[in-house]
């Protein structure tokens, strides 16, 4: 068995999510090779074959060209698995590779057992198993689902990749992250509002609990999208990653993108009326109650 692991560069840096792909490959027992549209001066620690194309020539984002380069690497390497992170890069690119080879793609894999892949579904509340009908399979791996104890060592043997670089897609660059007026990264206590609070007016109830606990207000993505709370308060993969001593999730179901941003918390309290909410999986205390009934009572008792 062979796995071709496709890594990712962002603003000149190799993302270390590549080592999660190594952990995934380790679990399948496959031999690994890497494929990167990257920089020869900034390669992963690894003793095997690295298919490398120059990121200056092909751009950090150009799925059209990256697809062609990865297809060229697949042709030489002949892997059983072509593995990406389930990230903005991976979910954009993986289906292009799979469709061109007419092979199965399995998205957001969290585990693998006897050739059957376990993936999340229904907003992370449920799981299903998927079995490919093709010998070669494209995989995207859920962020954080596989981790390795030790970063591999060694210097890779580079095989240079080159394709015609005419493209119909133009990458114009990055737009920087909005300036943050709150640094949640340093907060000891964060109390976050989720969609379960019901309406914008209720944000103040959650903010009052945050104040009573001496902490900061956080928010889940839907609450920020709805304009109830500023983006600078957003916790999750597209917001801030936090590691407070106490995190109180109020009416947050616990989408994987949110959990990825707060699971390093020492102690997690979740308040939700849906007892199946995925946040319950990682909570130290799971309060099954209507958030707008429970929170004011809790705040009042704390202030007494």
């Amino acid at each position: 068995m062979k796995a071709l692991l496709v890594g990712e560069y962002r603003e000149g840096k190799l993302l270390d999510t590549i080592y999660e792909l190594v952990a995934f490959a380790g679990k399948t027992g496959a031999d690994t090779a890497f494929c990167l549209i990257g920089d020869a001066k900034n390669v992963p620690n690894f003793g095997g074959t690295l298919y490398l194309a120059d990121v200056v020539k092909y751009g950090e984002y150009n799925p059209d060209l990256h697809k062609k380069l990865i297809l060229a690497a697949i042709k030489i390497e002949n892997p059983d698995f072509v593995v990406f992170s389930h990230s903005s890069y991976g979910w954009d690119l993986a289906p292009r590779v799979a469709a061109n080879l007419k092979i199965a793609q399995i998205s957001e894999v969290v585990d693998i057992n006897d050739g059957s892949f376990e993936v999340g579904c229904c907003n992370g509340k449920m799981r299903r198993t998927v079995k490919p009908a093709t010998n070669r399979v494209v995989i995207t791996v859920q962020s954080g689902a596989f981790s390795i104890q030790k970063v591999p060592q060694g210097i890779p043997t580079v095989v240079a990749l080159d394709v015609d670089c005419a493209s119909k897609i133009e990458f114009l660059g990055y737009e920087p992250v909005e300036a943050k007026d709150v640094d949640l990264g340093k907060a000891e206590v964060i109390v976050s509002a989720g969609r379960g609070i019901g309406k914008k007016d209720n944000v103040q109830v959650i903010a009052a609990l945050a104040k009573a606990l001496g902490g900061e207000l956080g928010a889940s993505r839907p609450v920020v999208d709805a304009g109830w709370v500023e983006h600078s308060h957003q916790v999750g993969t597209t917001g801030q990653t936090v590691s407070p001593k106490l995190y109180v999730a109020c009416g947050i179901s616990g989408a994987i993108q949110h959990l990825a941003g707060m699971k390093k918390t020492d102690f997690i309290v979740a308040i939700n009326k849906d007892k199946d909410a995925p946040i319950g999986e990682i909570a130290d205390v799971f309060v099954i109650a209507d958030v707008m009934q429970f929170v004011p009572v809790l705040t009042a008792k704390l202030l007494k």
Binding site: R96, R127, L213, D284, F286, L298, K301
Partner: protein, 258 residues
């Protein structure tokens, strides 16, 4: 200009899910259905572009599924789509992303759509494959995870959402397909006059067996809740009592309450 938006009807994600009899997907009993949340943003963006283009442009909304999906198509029509297409398939939940994409392609390939909108993923399956696969099969340019969209002079300029709040700016010419992320716009609520107007809009019914169907590349076999990690304390009951209990636990287990 011809526009297409592809939407899916999904169960309300607050539902309690149980496996069906064959154990491979959820039981439909007691579920309420709605438009996939990501698709609401796709419909809104398509309708905004339709309004920008005005006369001479046409926006089709397509959905695959059993008869109940007509309700979701009607919502998209009430939001401002011009016509609907219902690909009748009571077994669409048994199909893999490759098959779903190929059904859309079978319908779309001779229609010469200039721009196709889809959600970034469905809330129930969440594969994030169908949109991009449609584009590959039609040989269209495509870009995923849109949080900003502009159209001018036969080209689109979009912003993609990346991890950590960074955005990638991308430009491409039409024909193209885009997949829409949450927060791209503010999806409108259909007004009563528009709901009434939508009743007169055409919904073309196409039987899935009347168009070419591909064999699956993968099968979904078992549907089940995640294994409980355990260890967490569950508090349930009278609000005042559980608030007291929670404060007790926080005093004992954390250093934040003094």
């Amino acid at each position: 200009m011809k526009l297409l938006v592809c939407i899916k009807q999904v169960p309300d994600m607050d539902s309690h899910f149980k496996a069906n009899e064959s154990g491979d997907w959820f039981s439909e009993t007691d579920l309420a259905y709605r438009m996939n949340e990501y698709d609401e943003y796709a419909v809104e963006q398509a309708v905004q572009l339709r309004e920008q283009l005005g006369e001479g442009s046409d926006l089709t909304v397509l959905s695959i599924g059993p008869d109940r999906v007509v309700e979701t198509i009607k919502k998209a029509l009430a939001m401002g789509c011009d016509r609907g297409v219902h690909i009748q398939d009571p077994y669409v939940h048994k199909k893999d992303p490759w098959q779903v994409a190929s059904i859309i392609v079978s319908y779309a390939q001779d229609k010469k759509f200039d721009l196709i909108f889809t959600g970034m993923q469905s809330q129930d399956r969440g594969s994030a494959q169908v949109g991009v696969t449609v584009a590959e099969l039609l040989d269209y340019n495509s870009v995923t995870t849109l949080v900003d969209f502009e159209y001018a002079d036969g080209a689109i300029k979009v912003k993609r959402e990346l991890e950590g709040g960074l955005k990638g700016v991308v430009r491409m010419r039409l024909p193209a397909l885009v997949t829409c992320q949450l927060g791209l716009n503010v999806p409108r609520y259909p007004t009563l006059p528009n709901i009434m107007k939508a009743k007169r809009k055409e919904i073309e019914a196409v039987s899935v067996s009347s168009i070419p169907n591909e064999e699956p590349l993968a099968s979904s076999n078992r549907f089940y809740p995640p294994i409980k990690r355990g260890g967490g304390v569950v508090l349930e009951g009278e609000v005042a009592d559980i608030a007291e209990k929670l404060i007790g636990i926080l005093k004992e287990k954390t250093t934040v309450l003094r």
